[in-house]
């Protein structure tokens, strides 16, 4: 009896809140520009950043500090997975080998998946994409390797060193802007020298550099998460 009362009370509350939100939202015009900053970005993105793709220009150049925060969040998530699943001795415990279709398909597809991921993050300032989709694509390539071969492991040493170096060089690229005499994550390549022509691969200031760094970092980190999730602690005499 009490539970029915509680439920009906909750449903009435939800209905009231829903009606309130619906009435409030019906007065907001949908799909109209209410902010001027978007138009400002679209007008000035080419001469201020040298990139064609306005989305990545905003993500890396205008809002570069947020992107550094995102990379940090991903790093903390990867560290947390590693800490939660930590065991002294861990091995892959898969018994069933992948089928012929899976192994052969993985052998053929893996280089192309990595190539496509690298393409996505190298051309981040020209075509849709960027460091995060590119890195995730590379990580799916490593996931395919893990599923196809029962003994495969990523080269841990190289991946960890790459991850650390790449994360530090992102901060270093930002600090160079501070050294020049401007602010942190100042686009020192495009704003001071105007390297390259707009629309070509060698343009966009430091957007390609930072996206290559982010792509490598995201790829190695997500591969590390997959590795941590797949391996199981061996409870033997160690």
């Amino acid at each position: 009896m009490v539970s029915i009362l509680k439920r009906s009370l909750a449903i009435i509350t939800i209905l009231i809140i829903g009606y309130w939100l619906a009435v409030a939202m019906s007065h907001v015009p949908f799909g109209q520009d209410k902010m001027l900053v978007g138009q400002y970005y679209l007008n000035h993105v080419k001469d201020q950043t040298g990139a064609i793709n306005a989305v990545t220009a905003i993500v890396v150049n205008y809002r570069g500090f947020d992107t550094l925060g995102e990379v940090t969040v991903l790093f903390i998530a990867s560290t947390g997975v590693g800490a939660l699943l930590w065991k002294r001795k861990r091995e892959r415990t898969a018994r069933v080998p992948g089928s012929v279709v899976l192994t052969t398909g993985t052998r053929f597809l893996f280089p192309f998946i990595v190539l496509f991921g690298a393409y996505i993050f190298i051309h981040g300032h020209l075509t849709p994409g960027g460091g995060f989709p590119g890195g995730a694509t590379i990580a799916t390539g490593f996931l395919l390797l893990y599923m196809a071969f029962t003994v495969y492991e990523i080269p841990h040493k190289g991946f960890e060193v790459t991850e650390g170096l790449v994360g530090m060089s992102y901060v270093a690229v930002g600090l160079i802007g501070l050294l020049i005499g401007s602010y942190f994550l100042y686009d020192w390549i495009w704003q001071t020298w105007h390297v390259g022509t707009v629309g070509k691969l060698f343009s966009g200031g430091f957007i390609p550099i930072i996206y290559i760094l982010i792509g490598l970092k995201v790829g190695t980190e997500l591969s590390g998460i997959i590795d941590n999730m797949l391996k199981e602690g061996v409870s033997g005499n160690d």
Binding site: R7, G129, A136, L143, M147, I225, E232
Partner: protein
């Protein structure tokens, strides 16, 4: 009615259906497949809404990586949900 918006509505319908199935199914492996289907159709919808970069991210992370991580977690625990003592109706779950 315009045909493109027809396709959008069909995709949204499939997404809602897969989401309901992902919640309702007792077999957790099937529920993960339903969740990955939601992400896959969401990425298709993002592509139709002219956001190809978001579509790429959604397809790689939502459909592939998070589904794989959930499947690894199921492999370490149990595959089927246990029955609760009191099962409320489909319209409200506490």
């Amino acid at each position: 009615m315009n045909c493109i918006s027809c396709i959008n509505y069909i995709i949204i319908g499939i997404m809602v259906l897969s989401a309901v199935f992902a919640v309702e199914w007792r077999d957790l492996l099937a529920a993960v497949v339903g969740m990955a289907a939601v992400s896959l159709f969401a990425s298709l919808l993002f592509f139709f809404l002219q956001a190809p970069d978001v579509a790429m991210t959604e397809a790689a992370i939502g459909a592939a990586l998070s589904g794989a991580v959930f499947i690894f977690a199921i492999k370490r625990t149990r595959r089927f949900e246990t029955e609760e003592e009191e099962k409320p109706g489909w319209w409200v779950r506490w």
